[in-house]
């Protein structure tokens, strides 16, 4: 690959190679304060399917150690998104060390709050807003459960903000660093937010899971207790490697749902959600 960079996110090291300079320059800029791994865990390749497609209508194919066949390429203007998708893909398909939960996570007093839900539920938005309120961001996409210790390890990649979340978070974090606005992505308008210095500095520090929330955006404010069995079912659905981890995954997840309270929260707007989260944290964590 002509252009290469390396970066570490939480405990995971990546090496990203690209046929184009643009995506690597964007990564080097936005991840400039992240450490570089000695030995990467995963490789990501951004490549042109045919040599001339490097320059003529350039389209970025995503490859690496783990690939899904027939993944649609992205235009070069979305090269950073392709790199992020490539890193996510390696984690989703290749992660064996940790139980991977598709969840955002923030930390306070050494304890972790996990938030998981379908796309559009507000995982990233709520994590970014809690970061703005002094919580330590552990990640907006994946939370890593260590089967050996039960602790949560963070994965604070760039926060991926979409559509109506953009103005809300930009207003809450006026001094934060953002990437370019990307219009017309598969998930609409998208912009990356760089986690703050504290999130990056402490990204290797795990936390004790203390509360699991299942947020849903677009409903009247409501809260409901989620029993361990329901939490277990929802979290297996939110994990890409539960089956792969076999009994280690079973042990990690049963321990998590038996030891950590869980609530479903519906919210009509982010102010309401933040108030619900802070109150539930006071009561339960």
């Amino acid at each position: 690959m002509r252009h290469v960079t390396r970066l570490r996110i939480g405990p995971i090291g990546f090496r990203i190679g690209s046929d184009w300079r643009g995506p690597i320059a964007a990564l080097d800029d936005l991840y400039r304060d992240y450490p570089k791994p000695d030995v990467p865990d995963f490789n990501v390749h951004l490549f042109a399917a045919r040599p001339w497609r490097r320059v003529f209508r350039p389209s970025v194919h995503i490859g690496g150690d783990f690939v899904i066949p027939d993944a649609a390429p992205l235009p070069l203007s979305m090269g950073l998104l392709a790199a992020e998708m490539g890193m996510n893909l390696q984690m989703a398909l290749g992660q064996r060390r940790y139980l991977l939960l598709h969840a955002s996570a923030v930390e306070r007093d050494g304890k972790a709050l996990l938030m998981t839900g379908v796309s559009g539920a507000g995982k990233s938005t709520l994590a970014a807003l809690l970061m703005a309120r002094g919580w330590r961001l552990m990640g907006d996409e994946f939370a890593l459960v260590d089967p050996a210790s039960g602790l949560i390890h963070g994965f604070p990649r760039l926060i991926s903000l979409k559509n109506e979340a953009l103005p809300v978070v930009e207003a809450a974090l006026p001094d934060a660093r953002f990437g370019e606005i990307m219009e017309g992505t598969p998930k609409g308008t998208l912009r990356h937010l760089v986690p703050n210095a504290r999130a990056i500095a402490a990204m290797a520090e795990p936390a004790v899971p203390a509360l699991i929330l299942f947020p849903s955006f677009g409903f009247a404010a409501e809260e409901r207790e989620v029993m361990p069995s329901e939490a277990f079912i929802r979290l297996t659905q939110a994990s890409t490697n539960y089956v792969t981890l076999a009994e280690r995954g079973f042990d990690a997840l049963t321990r998590l749902v038996q030891g950590v309270p869980a609530r479903a929260i519906d919210y009509p707007n982010t102010d309401t959600a933040i108030a619900q989260v802070e109150r539930l944290w006071r009561e339960l964590a």
Binding site: M227, P228, S229, F232, I233, T236, V243, A246, E247, F250, T254, V257, Q258
Partner: protein, 89 residues
Amino acid sequence: MSHYRAAPPATLRIVPLDALTLIYHRASGITHIVDAPVPEILEALGDEILGVDALLARLSEQFDLPDADPMALAIRLDELVVAGLVERT
């Protein structure tokens, strides 16, 4: 008539949660999320080999079964055989 025994305890991890019970089946790597009467059936079988009538009698001793039906129990047992949680002998 068929007789049944529970899969060897070493092949199962049984974790009761609230209303539901998790059973991890080591042989297949499959997690079963089960409701009553599955945990009760496995416990009643213990390490013995029982026919449907004997098992139903044992379950009736422990639980108040208003509609004790050997046919329904046999169907449950056959489902558990397919899942690998019970063996037919």
